[in-house]
Amino acid sequence: MAEKTALLICEALTDEIAGRTPPHVEVHAIEMGLHDYPKKLNQELQNAINKLEQDDRYEIILLGFGLCSEGVVGLQASRAKLVVPRTDDCIAILLGSMKAYREQFQKAPGTYYYTKKNIDKAWGPLAMFLGQHEWTKKYDSETAQWVAREMIKNYTRIAFINTSMLDLGAYEEHARRAAGVFGLQYELLSGTTSLLESLLHGPWDERFVVAEAGQRISRSMF
């Protein structure tokens, strides 16, 4: 029988695991965007781990995160094993590996990566420009546009990562429009769910950081 497992996953990645989660894995989504507040992310994750450990049936806690601005550094479970993809962030997870991410980083370090989820959530520079983003809703259009241009001013490329959609339709149109508005290059990138599937099913090879029960996740493990 499979070991009782919980998955704490960033909301940014929940579309990619939908329908792929085995029955013995219980899924808990964590609010996306907390990489901007790494201490808060760390606290939320540690609290979630502690809560899961109150129910001692869990032998394994999977983390659907990367290093995420060091938000996972210091996490510890007393009885469960922690498993986290050895990546810097969710972009590498969606591209399938750190290698794939580094290739894109070399190509254009100033890339804004769109995904279905961040378009659904009205995130990203275009939503900011249009005053639809939570951060710019309160501003007049001139100010919202100025803010969006400031936020994206050093970027050179907009990329859309497609992990599974057959019909990109409006999503790709949104990303293309963003590139047009800010005068940036546009590229459609093929994503993959393979790393997330390995997180769910194993094997937890060198692509993953594994902290045994009682062991703290450290930066040097990445």
Binding site: H35, D36, Y37, P38, L67, S69, E70, V73, D88, D89, R102, F105, P109, G110, M128, E134, W135, T136, Y139, T143, W146, V147, E150, M151, N154, Y155, R219, F222
Partner: protein, 215 residues
């Protein structure tokens, strides 16, 4: 002074044209340009930074406030050149190679210039060799680096090592900051100082340069 209070509020609201008008009015009232800067513009920035992350204040609000501070500084600049505080210390600052995120770094530059320091801003995507070259040419007392990405943080360590190799490490203090940076990381790479945000960066810079702590 009510005018400084109004100036702080205009900064918080990001009203650049209002800040400009109030800064001119404050000069007309005979207030010193340094007081207008410290107690009006910079104090407004400090207030908004205190609210950041807790009260629905986000990065754009900080950006808009800093735009207003720049409008005010533009008014004050000719007066500050004549009679503002000038410190003899030079600082070089940059966002490390591969990293293009300079919003925080630009705020630190603004705060350090507000303190009267001579700041040389190397911009974004700065390689360790460029930091070393700038340190050789400009003889700064402080070298400050920012990074927002965990992928670019190692450039900070590489820069500290390059400074050591060139025999410059003893001549310059090094401080680091940015989203993923922690005090532990600062210690690991043997930097002298660390700050979690732009406001505390100014404070840390002054401490590293040997100035007594101020409010």
């Amino acid at each position: 002074m009510p005018i400084l209070q109004n100036l702080r509020e205009a900064v918080i609201k990001g009203q650049a044209s209002q800040v400009k008008i109030l800064a001119e009015a404050a000069l007309d009232e005979g207030l010193s340009p340094q007081d207008i800067l410290d107690q009006g513009l910079i104090a407004g920035m400090k207030l908004i930074s205190d609210r950041f992350r807790n009260n629905g204040i986000y990065v754009p609000d900080i950006l808009i406030a800093s735009r207003a501070v720049h409008a005010g500084m533009h008014v004050l600049k000719p007066y500050l050149i004549q009679c503002g505080v000038k410190l003899p210390d030079r600082v070089i600052i940059g966002t490390v190679a591969g990293d293009l995120h300079d919003i925080g770094k630009d705020l630190v530059v603004m705060m350090l210039r507000g303190k009267g320091l001579d700041v040389i801003d190397l911009g974004i995507d700065v390689e360790p060799e460029e930091f070393v070259q700038a340190a050789t040419v400009h003889h700064p007392k402080l070298l400050a680096m920012s990074a927002l990405l965990t992928t670019t943080m190692p450039v900070m360590a590489a820069t500290v090592q390059s400074l050591c190799l060139k025999g410059l490490r003893q001549q310059v203090k090094v401080m680091i900051g940015g989203g993923p940076i922690t005090p532990e990381y600062s210690r690991t790479i043997k930097a002298d100082g660390y700050a979690p945000d732009f406001r505390l960066a100014a404070k840390e810079a002054m401490r590293l340069l040997g100035y007594p702590a101020a409010g």
